[in-house]
Symmetry: C3
Subunit: 425 residues, 3 copies
Amino acid sequence: MLDSLAPLSADADVAALLAARRPGHTLPAELYTGQAAWLADCRIMFGRHWISVGVACDVPEPGDVIALDIGPSSIVILRDDNDELRAFHNVCSHRGAKLVPAGRSVVGKLVCPYHQWTYDLDGTLALAPHMGMDFDRALHHLKPVALRDVGGLLFACLSDDPPADIDDLAAVMEPRLAPYDLHDTRVAFEQDLIEDGNWKLTMENNRECYHCASNHPQLSLSFHAADFGYDPDGLTETERAESDALADAYRRHGEHWQAEGLPYEAVEHTVGHATNFRTQRLIIAGLGESQTPDTRAASSVPLGQAGRPWMGDMHLWGHNSWNHVMSDHAVVIAAYPVAPDKTLVRTKWLVHKDAVEGEDYDLDNLTAVWKATNAEDAHLVSLAHRGVSQMGYRPGPYSRFTERALEDFATWYVERMAANGYGTD
Amino acid sequence: MLDSLAPLSADADVAALLAARRPGHTLPAELYTGQAAWLADCRIMFGRHWISVGVACDVPEPGDVIALDIGPSSIVILRDDNDELRAFHNVCSHRGAKLVPAGRSVVGKLVCPYHQWTYDLDGTLALAPHMGMDFDRALHHLKPVALRDVGGLLFACLSDDPPADIDDLAAVMEPRLAPYDLHDTRVAFEQDLIEDGNWKLTMENNRECYHCASNHPQLSLSFHAADFGYDPDGLTETERAESDALADAYRRHGEHWQAEGLPYEAVEHTVGHATNFRTQRLIIAGLGESQTPDTRAASSVPLGQAGRPWMGDMHLWGHNSWNHVMSDHAVVIAAYPVAPDKTLVRTKWLVHKDAVEGEDYDLDNLTAVWKATNAEDAHLVSLAHRGVSQMGYRPGPYSRFTERALEDFATWYVERMAANGYGTD
Amino acid sequence: MLDSLAPLSADADVAALLAARRPGHTLPAELYTGQAAWLADCRIMFGRHWISVGVACDVPEPGDVIALDIGPSSIVILRDDNDELRAFHNVCSHRGAKLVPAGRSVVGKLVCPYHQWTYDLDGTLALAPHMGMDFDRALHHLKPVALRDVGGLLFACLSDDPPADIDDLAAVMEPRLAPYDLHDTRVAFEQDLIEDGNWKLTMENNRECYHCASNHPQLSLSFHAADFGYDPDGLTETERAESDALADAYRRHGEHWQAEGLPYEAVEHTVGHATNFRTQRLIIAGLGESQTPDTRAASSVPLGQAGRPWMGDMHLWGHNSWNHVMSDHAVVIAAYPVAPDKTLVRTKWLVHKDAVEGEDYDLDNLTAVWKATNAEDAHLVSLAHRGVSQMGYRPGPYSRFTERALEDFATWYVERMAANGYGTD
């Protein structure tokens, strides 16, 4: 009856919307705004793929626990008594109560507050009062969640059948992250921000620096927007000179990095793969040391063996994350769906575990650039969400120069959904 | 399986609900309360019909812009460099960001805050950085919205195929509004009120004065409730005398208005038409000058050539609006859907552009009657919405004396939905 | 296409979810979390069954009115001019406005605030202005709601066809409640609490005391958790001694109660019946008088002929309520759905109508135990709801010792839904 009107309906078929996506263009509206599409995203994109879930240094000792809400779900990440990292669904096997409140805690065992069912840190059900002598506790352990520690960055997959190509991510990133020894860091500051937009708009916003010059004055001091593409025919003479100078700088730095055995080439692992990532060693702009207001190192205690500011920014984009690992600190940012139009953006600033606030680094200086950038991005994402919700919205064209990564992200998204049951054949 | 229970379901077929509407009665519950019905209303009633969107005097100079949110959509209304009024969907053709925040602004061009795509005030895409030499900007202008200025009142239609009978509205209203010269006014005060009810309950509430005597003590001073119908057999002797006196007054005023060339007859354009309106010149009660607490003119500077208080109230009901144009000021009120149970009611009080606050009029006196009336109506609409949401609600009977206009409104609504794809054949 | 993913969808078939319920286990997730299931619950469980709606002493005089919201619906309970209790849907027969705001009021007639339609207290439409001479008011009386006063506790059914077995509840409870003469009480305090969970989680939480020892320190002083089951093989020696002592106490009290003509045996009326209840006379722990911090009577004026503290706790579980009637006061608690994840818990503390606050009882002492218990339960219910919403939730096993009543409740719920159109054949 209502063919042309279907996109606004809450019940539009998500698969049909995915099939309607036009290459080179943003997604059909309801993939950003619809409840059905959002639930499908929670289930597939955040339920059957490896997603960024934090850092190993958050759980350094046996009994350290982090509980993390992901859409309607929640997981616990902990270090068990054998010093092994583990993750579980944050739900008691008895009546389904949420075991651990979101955030950090330290425990000997995991005790459900409801009826005191008690789990060892390996997930074994150790105690279940009043269940009778014939109750088989072995059948009621905590449901495990696949977890990978890649050089100190943690990735989890909530599905029982996690994609195998997390190995590719590990193979590429472990040598790149090794010099920074992220296991030897601590979280100096953590910020939670709720963006008023769909998580895919959050990710699209992160995948380009086309918007940086006009929107991120602070970030632009240490960041070369040109790293993320530009139209060579659209440059002013000054811009062309800058662009040539940057290309030269990359050649010189590349030789240097090569000599030092520091991997730097871009690696892209997006379309055609389950696990989405891209990494590259970037030159930091200005004085070149760090993403700070004065582009100098924020912390006087270098990370790992990374006491060389010219090491630049070991940059990693993941499925739901962006990471900047620098000689003096690292910024680890991840996005989690909260509602079709709400996304949690969690930022962690890591410094060497021995760095002392007020002595070795100033917290405001450490966090200034990304606090400002996150606030600016939250505003842009809210404008984007308010726009795609309108009757007048039509999918628009990506720039093939500055938004190629968005085209990849959208194509990969449609492909992954189709591969997980949302195809149309 | 659940035939008799269907009305409470969020997925009930909107077309079936429309078909179930019983003449002479209020609508089936879920047409007021359901999410699917509300989205259909946004799409059809606010998407394919001419709706009231404000006043021309809000954008008097080239570069003046008003952005107006209408349900999930938004439009910009502006005056371009050739002094022409235009409207566009408030969405960038690139990544779909909302171009202009809701409210008033003054611009040279429309620049998207996201990536600086820049549009001339006629909607032309003037600049789109980094899109490449082969990018055809002509294909990416702003999407226009049909706009009509009828004697200073603005009507827009978001669809590409707006109903032609806006010409009927213009033909009737332009001569009626001409003496007041609304282009020569300004907005002395604007009030936004969110009513906790469906937009159709807001409109039904506005379409009768059956509730006035008990609920609108202030408005009743200047308003003859009997103008909107009464049961002739139900009158007390006093009421009958009043009613006869009012009929006499209309005869005398009619002759007078006729002699002065002032149109006054009721014109109804509802059932059978796409564009819904009703107009009539009404006698103001009390001292007869204006809708104020003392029924005298609020402003000492008359509108246009309207310096004759006995001109009464040039009354206009529209699809989503009610308007009272009097010799000294005008009140322009429009309703916009916000959610199934939330409706924005925006009221603008217009005075002559040269009238000075504190000298020519007192703002509290100017706004007192409709501020009180709006608050009272908001309460009634919330009661109505809370009632129709209940399991015990059954569509009830309209009075054929005092609620004939509601019967027309409901019949017209069902007819327009059916004409736009929500029929059952 | 998406068979294995269906459970998270808002449109999952409620009947299929009900059919998927596994005996001995908690319900499938979406029966707790889904919008469709919640609406079905409002319609069936709260629309076609007898539910607890308060106490007769709330409307002691002709003209006393209580309006009670139940999910999206609302009812008025009143005492008419013939001293008869009546209930009606709280909706005007004209335009469907909500007649009476939630809470208590005193009226001569029920006058709709919208257009002054006026109803006698027996529901007759007495006045409907402007409806014309031929309007048949007899067709537009208030829609009645079935109401039963069982020993001072009120039960209502919103359906036109209420289950007949409310007679069973009356037959069992009237003699049990008679000695307390609840018609001669008044509400000393009323508390409304919104729990962040589905109403069925609220009821499941109430149906067991497995969680009491660790979560209800105050209640546990006067309440024998063992009354609600325990694993006999899991007791420590001390616990076994306590359990044996309690069994002895029940034997002694039983004889005593028997001699006094006080019914005390447990009566269960759940699976296989429309109207769900269970009652038993319980021994109060500690000093045995009342559910207070010191387990002594809170009020010095006994209820009815109940001036014997050893009468214990005449306990009644209903479909949506739990009640404790003691010699000095009664606690009447009922749950009403507000949203899939919100439930109103309303608690009334009744004392003899002549008991004077500050003289005969201290209000803080009277209310301390259940205020604390309610707050603790609200926290547990929120944990349960947050857990069952997760992707990692699987229906878990009930203890056959401590959670048998939950198994009954879940089985009865599935059975009642099936009997009302949500079956799968």
